[in-house]
Point group: C2
DNA sequence: TTGTATGCGTTATCAG
DNA sequence: CTGATAACGCATACAA
């Protein structure tokens, strides 16, 4: 049984292939009876159309793609859910494509645009620094969502949705400062990070600067090569190291909630208490921050709202109802039980 | 600039399309100079071959697909990483495809097999109850990984990798019983669950039975419709309800580590202490169990080993080196700080 | 070593 | 309403 094709169905039904095609694609110009007959034959013979062949011919496909950089970000899952709902409601097919960390997302996008005849693309996550020339090869609208942009104000060529990582990071460190903390450790990404890790560190530095607190480089920890950035394990190991060094600090800013969890555990394992001896804050607004013991003060990114804005903007661009814009969302400081005011 | 095709490149270079094709696909029979010239033209004109057209023609593609059911299982991410590594080493292309909860994974598989000319398929997660007739439509080897199977001993038609959810679940409940607990609450999946939620509950029942402890149905909690099964939130809400009801219990078995986290928080919010007043155990072996405060006793599923076994078995099937088998992996009981022996 | 022609499985076009 | 036929973009057998 070499794969059954449209021709086989046509032969079996004694009709032309175009009639079979019409039956499948809900074309108006077809007799209901012949259509029923054909659909039945399709069922019985387990005929499944070949998508590659379809994509090759079809001109009116309504598909958009979401390219997700990196695999394991739980925040993205929440965003994708929202995007799925809306695209479905708008009768678009959604192509969800994961892009490896070492793959180039724009290259993937260009291939996919041709392969699937896409109408629009959402890029989710990662660091975006591509030449204008390369971006021009994407001939359909696209939106960058939660992506660190190369230039300060963003470029005209694309739309973007994001939070201001520097500002939000500054805010939460400022919160620690307001609670009397001066020796604030920070655990973050790799030393050579140019993406959100770098931005969040900038926020940290700015906050200290505004409070005229000198930055102690020894309190800034970078993920060693053998650990996964932003993971609980990384948070644990870095904090463990810091404590073993005996370096004094009263508060710790973890650049992700997962790291904050690891940091808390390390402190507790060292016999420390939170928030009495050490205050800890995170970043992201994941569930685990709320449910940890103690619950962890963090900056919540409004992921659902951002996801909705992302897909709505893309649809507007596809319908040419709007120009590319750069939308920045506000984070929300969520107070947990992990910070103590040490001036009291 | 309507998309540039292989013909355009051929025309630009003054050669035939087949020569361009040969240049791209590293064919041996081609002059190095013309190849260089062509590759340069491809670069300059930003030519990207259309994958749909390729798939249509190609017969020798070496691709396998992983179909992931449901979107947000962190355990799967760890498995996929392993699978990616191995497939890459074995020079297979990997197609990662997410399948919606309400989509039929076998239908997706059949389509994808034709579209991408696959050589093998891995199904990850979900509940597998498909007719033999439908499965026969998949004409390439496939392996079911961490999937609850319809029949006790599995079928000949497919290979499978799994842990014995009943047995492992029974083991951890037995662990609670050994620690003197008799009033053991369990928080799990939906009431109508026929998949792992049902299996893990069976394990719970068997353990009690073996210890001659009567099952108290009031201690068995089901996720209400508005909550996401296995989530922290669900774990919190269900435990909160249970505590508010005032129903007495000394230990709680959560069917996932995420739920265990939520359960712990609820207990703590009610002023309870872990493990002094309440013992808590989870299931899965996620990072969060280890890093929670207190760390949570759980059953670790050997996901990395299972992932490796999955892909190795698929490759063997593709090479016809082996028959379909059903491999069952042992879980590992990891003791945390969340269980107290109440007989002491 | 290279070019020409054919077909992969569909859909679109056009004539019946 | 229906059927033959020409693309879609590429790989490949075969001829040169």
């Amino acid at each position: 049984m070499g794969n059954v094709t449209i021709k086989d169905i046509a032969r079996i039904c004694g009709v032309g292939v175009s009639t079979v095609s019409r039956a499948m694609n809900n074309h108006p110009d077809i007799n209901q009876e012949t259509k029923d007959m054909i659909m039945q034959a399709i069922e019985q013979n387990n005929y499944v159309p070949n998508n590659s062949a379809r994509n090759l011919k079809r001109t009116d496909a309504k598909a958009i793609a979401v390219l997700v950089k990196g695999i394991s970000n739980p925040l993205f899952n929440r965003m994708i859910k929202v995007i799925e709902q809306i695209t479905q409601k708008e009768k678009y097919e959604l192509v969800l494509q994961h892009v490896d960390d070492n793959q180039d997302e724009v290259t993937v996008a260009i291939e996919l645009e041709k392969e699937k005849r896409l109408r629009g693309i959402v890029f989710l996550g990662g660091y975006f620094s591509h030449s204008e020339e390369k971006l021009k090869q994407i001939s359909i609208p696209f939106v960058l969502s939660t992506i660190k942009l190369e230039e300060e104000d963003g470029r005209q060529e694309y739309a973007s949705i994001s939070v201001d990582d520097i500002k939000e990071s500054e805010r939460i460190v400022e919160y620690l400062l307001q609670n009397g903390h001066r020796k604030i450790a920070v655990i973050g990404s790799r030393k050579d990070d140019e993406s959100i890790g770098w931005l969040r560190q900038q926020g940290y530095r700015r906050a200290l600067e505004r409070y005229h607190v000198a930055v102690d480089e020894e309190l800034i920890c970078y993920v060693p090569g053998n650990l996964t950035p932003y993971s609980m394990e990384a948070g644990y190991e870095m904090t463990d190291q810091l404590l073993k060094k005996g370096k004094a600090f009263t508060a710790l800013f973890a650049m992700s909630d997962s790291m904050a969890v690891g940091a808390c555990k390390a402190i507790l394992d060292h016999g420390g208490s939170i928030p009495d001896q050490y205050s800890v804050v995170g970043f992201d607004g994941m569930d685990v921050a709320q449910y940890y013991n103690p619950s962890i003060t963090t900056i919540r990114q409004p992921v659902e709202e951002m996801a909705e804005a992302t897909i709505r903007m893309l649809l507007e661009l596809i319908r040419k109802k709007n120009k590319s814009r750069h939308l920045v969302f506000e984070g929300q400081l969520i107070e947990g039980q992990s910070v103590r005011n040490i001036t009291e």
